[in-house]
C-alpha cells in the first residue's frame, strides 16, 4: 500500500475497501446462472438472424419509378409560377390589412379620446345619486305639525312664551304647598318659629 501512488486508481480502490469492509468482503462469484448450452445456442441464433437480414447490396440500382414525358423540363416554370401566385395572394391580404386596419393614427386622436373619457366620467360623478342613511326616529304626525309651526315663529316670540310657561309652573308649585298645609291642618306660623 505504501508503494502505490496516492493519485492512482489502485490507491483510491484500496481506500474504498477500507471504508466498505462488508461490501468488499463479499465473495464476488457470479450469482446469476444461464441454462446449459446457452452461449453455443446464442451464437447460432444470432447468425441465423443475421443471415435473414435483407442484403441491400444485392438489390438492383435501377430506378423502378417513371415520370410523365417533359416533366423535368416544365418543372422549373411550374415552381416559379406557384411562387408568383403565392406572393400575389400574400400581397393582396397584406394590402387589405394595411388599408383597413394598420392606418397611421392621427396625432390628436389619443388626446381627444382622453378628453372625452374625462368628460363622460365627470358627468357620471356629479350626477350620481347620493343615498343618505337616516337612523333618526320617525316623528308622529302631530309632532311633525308642531315642528313645522315652530319653524315659522320668530325667536323673541318663542322666548316670551317660554318665560310665561316657566312662571306659571312656579306659581303652580307654591299653590300646591299651601293646599297641602291647609289640608293637613298645619300652622304656618309654628313652622316659621322652628326655623
Amino acid at each position: 500500500m505504501n508503494n502505490i501512488p496516492k493519485n492512482s486508481e489502485a490507491f483510491s480502490d484500496e481506500e474504498l475497501k477500507k471504508a466498505a469492509p462488508v461490501l468488499f468482503g463479499i465473495n464476488k462469484e457470479n450469482a446469476f446462472v444461464v441454462p446449459d448450452g446457452y452461449f453455443e445456442a446464442l451464437n447460432a441464433s444470432v447468425m441465423k438472424q443475421v443471415a435473414s437480414l435483407p442484403d441491400f447490396e444485392s438489390v438492383s440500382n435501377e430506378n423502378p419509378f417513371i415520370v410523365p414525358d417533359g416533366y423535368f423540363e416544365s418543372l422549373p416554370t411550374g415552381i416559379q409560377q406557384r411562387i408568383i401566385d403565392s406572393k400575389s395572394k400574400r400581397n393582396s391580404v397584406a394590402n387589405w390589412i394595411a388599408e383597413n386596419i394598420s392606418r397611421p393614427v392621427p396625432k390628436y386622436a389619443l388626446a381627444l379620446a382622453s378628453v372625452m373619457l374625462v368628460i363622460v366620467l365627470s358627468a357620471k360623478y356629479f350626477n350620481r345619486t347620493v343615498h343618505v342613511n337616516c337612523d333618526a326616529p320617525q316623528l308622529s304626525e302631530s309632532e311633525q305639525l308642531d315642528a313645522a309651526y315652530l319653524q315659522q315663529l320668530d325667536e323673541p316670540v318663542l322666548a316670551e312664551v317660554y318665560a310665561e310657561e316657566t312662571s306659571a309652573t312656579t306659581e303652580t308649585q307654591d299653590e300646591g304647598i299651601e293646599n297641602y298645609l291647609l289640608d293637613n291642618d298645619i300652622d304656618l306660623n309654628s313652622i316659621t318659629e322652628q326655623f
Binding site: 486508481e9 483510491s12 474504498l16 471504508a19 466498505a20 469492509p21 462488508v22 461490501l23 463479499i26 465473495n27 464476488k28 457470479n30 450469482a31 446469476f32 446462472v33 444461464v34 441454462p35 446457452y38 452461449f39 446464442l42 451464437n43 441464433s45 444470432v46 447468425m47 438472424q49 443475421v50 443471415a51 437480414l53
Partner: protein
C-alpha cells in the same frame, strides 16, 4: 482455434468473403462479457437474451462503419449499455410504470428467480444495487463486478473520470450502509 486481435478481426469483417466468419469470432470472443454486463442491468435471463441478440444484430449492421477511435470492446459495451437502458425504458412505457418501480419489480423477482443462485448476502447486495439510480448502478457494476478502469468506463458511458469516481464512491458508501443496516 486461432486467436485474432481486434484489428485482425475488423479487417476480416470488412472483407466480404470472410465477414460472417469474422463476425462469428467476434461474437465468441465477447458474447459472455456483454451478456453478463446486460444481465446485471436487466436481471432476468430471458430479457438479457433478447437484449444481447439485439446488440449483436446492431453490431453486424454498424461494424463496417466503426472508426476504431476507441477499443472494439468499449464500443461493444456502449451498444450493450444503451440497449439495456432502452429495454428498461420500454418496459416502463409498456406497463406504464415509473423506472424506479421497474427496478423494484426486478428486485422482488430476484428472490424467487431459479436463475439466481447467490447466497443471502449476495441476494442482499443485488437488491441493494437495484436501489441505486440506473446510471450509478451501471457504473458500480462495471467497476465492482467487471473490474473495468475509470477511463474505460468514461469512454463507454461518455462521462468524465471525476464524475465516475464520485458516483462510484457514493454508490459504495450507500451499499455499505445498506448491508450494515440489514
Amino acid at each position: 482455434m486461432t486467436e485474432y486481435t481486434d484489428q485482425e478481426l475488423l479487417a476480416k469483417f470488412r472483407d466480404e468473403n470472410s465477414r460472417s466468419y469474422a463476425f462469428n469470432l467476434i461474437m465468441r470472443k465477447y458474447q459472455q462479457r456483454l451478456y453478463w454486463h446486460i444481465r446485471r442491468i436487466v436481471i432476468d435471463h430471458d430479457d438479457a437474451n433478447d437484449v444481447v441478440q439485439n446488440v449483436f444484430i446492431k453490431v453486424w449492421k454498424a461494424l463496417d462503419k466503426f472508426r476504431e477511435d476507441s477499443q472494439l470492446y468499449t464500443w461493444l459495451y456502449r451498444i450493450a449499455t444503451n440497449e439495456s437502458i432502452s429495454f428498461l425504458n420500454s418496459k416502463k412505457r409498456r406497463f406504464l410504470i415509473p423506472l424506479g418501480d421497474v427496478e423494484h419489480e426486478l428486485s422482488s423477482n430476484l428472490s424467487g428467480d431459479p436463475n439466481f443462485t447467490g447466497d443471502k448476502i449476495m441476494l442482499k447486495l443485488q437488491q441493494a444495487v437495484l436501489k441505486l439510480p440506473t446510471q450509478q448502478r451501471i457504473i458500480f457494476n462495471m467497476k465492482y463486478f467487471d473490474g473495468l478502469k475509470y477511463d474505460e468506463i468514461a469512454v463507454i458511458l461518455n462521462l468524465t473520470t471525476g464524475a465516475l469516481k464520485a458516483s462510484y464512491h457514493h454508490a459504495v458508501k450507500k451499499l455499505e450502509k445498506y448491508l450494515t443496516a440489514h
